[in-house]
Amino acid sequence: MPLELLKYGLRRGHKPFHDIPPTPDLRRSYDVVIIGGGGHGLAAAYYLSRYHGITNVAVLEKGYLAGGNTARNTTTVRSNYLTIPSIEFYREGVSLFENMSHELGFNVMFSQRGQLTLAHSDGAMRSFRLRAEMGKHAGTRIEVVDARGVQKICPHVNMDFGGQHEVLGGLWHADGGTARHDAVAWGYAKRAAENGVQIHQRTEVTGFGVSGDRVTEVRTNRGTIQAGQVLQAAGGMNGRIAEMAGIRLPIRCFPLQAMVTQPLKPFLDILLSSSDLHTYLVQSSRGEIVIGGGTDPYQLASTRSTLPQKEALATGALQLMPFLHNVKLLRQWAGITDITPDFSPIMGASPLQNYWLDAGWGTWGFKATGVAGKRMAETVATARVPDILRPFALDRFSRFELLNEMGATAAGH
């Protein structure tokens, strides 16, 4: 690698290159049409083209590449869930991140720095013990630490001994990490495009042609295309898109807000969160403190921001690190989450034979970008849902086989 870099640097006549080719004209038909040009859709396109030999693929993106929830999440990669199917699935997701830069030849800046979740109540400690045991059983690195352990891992935390939010202990998840969200999406997009996948930006799906139990065509604002298989990975619009195909999903939209501070010198070398304060902090590679939390308290399909939610995030952040009190906020934003009743995603088959779902990512599936893409690609290519995805099927609701991850997602991580 260093030698190649040197050779490249000394070479004459450098040609400019584009990571992503400009949007081409739509073909009349594709073997696979992927709805949604975010991380998940692009990853699926990459795995289809790289490992399954399916290159006649179109990725349709309503706006610009990775501009939805891929750009709005807070880039936490972790596998500290509660149920075995979830832990196994996200464990594979973390392992894909560990090798992603090599796989893609694209630096996704994965930093496996560990995640520490604080408990300020006995209830939180109890749930941590359960999550730690489940995680150990499923082979992830996770343990409960006491207050002294918290101080050792993160000396900056305000322990608030004797106060209202005294830190009782924490859940230390050494596998946790963070990566650069744009790089993940662009890495997958670049390699998928090299393999022949067509990425269509500014291409909005407006409807479907359904005949019997199959989707035959996808209608867009740029024309109608024939589709062999359709994969839906549309983030906050999943409910709406599925409705166009005549599928009702158990999804409700809630906004999720986050914000970043001005850049500071590096001091926070872990991902820090609090399950009781509904706040988490991570320092980005630019030095900004990214502050995130739970969703808005009521259902909404808009990315507007609110002062109360921002105040709640700031309150939590200042409780954990009071020395941030004079740090200025730089940016704030919101995205639309598609929340399922059990806070687990919906992946796999739909009532239509050739229409596949990758939806319900709730408080966001950045951590699952690789694994969802890989496993959904396998699903589409083989027309069979792999075992690791079976527990996430849409029909789990009618079987009352829910995967309750409320405690490990929305507020609890």
Binding site: R240, R252, Q299, R304, P308, S398
Partner: protein
């Protein structure tokens, strides 16, 4: 600050209210209805009728809110004239 009108206490700060979720038809008959009621909550790109509670006075009422604009269109008590004329959820 966002304002919600409580049918009993008048316009109040939204932080005084708790969102309780969409108004459902409570007369479930079949298993499918029950499944629907439990898991398939309405998620329209438009107006939703939903239960809210004014927490200091414990007033539970219905509000109609546009889920795309977050505009609260009207609010009324269950069983009031406004409720009887409202379209079903």
């Amino acid at each position: 600050m966002k304002i919600m009108t409580c049918p009993v206490n008048g316009p109040r700060n939204i932080s005084e209210f708790q969102w309780l979720g969409p108004v459902h038809d409570t007369a479930e008959a079949t298993d499918a209805d029950l499944l629907n009621r439990l898991f398939f909550a309405p998620n329209p790109m438009g107006v939703l009728r939903e239960w809210w509670r004014h927490t200091p006075s414990n007033t539970v009422f219905i509000a109609e809110r546009d889920l795309t604009t977050d505009e609260i269109l009207r609010s009324y008590l269950k069983g009031s004239d406004a409720d009887r004329t409202a379209s079903p959820a």
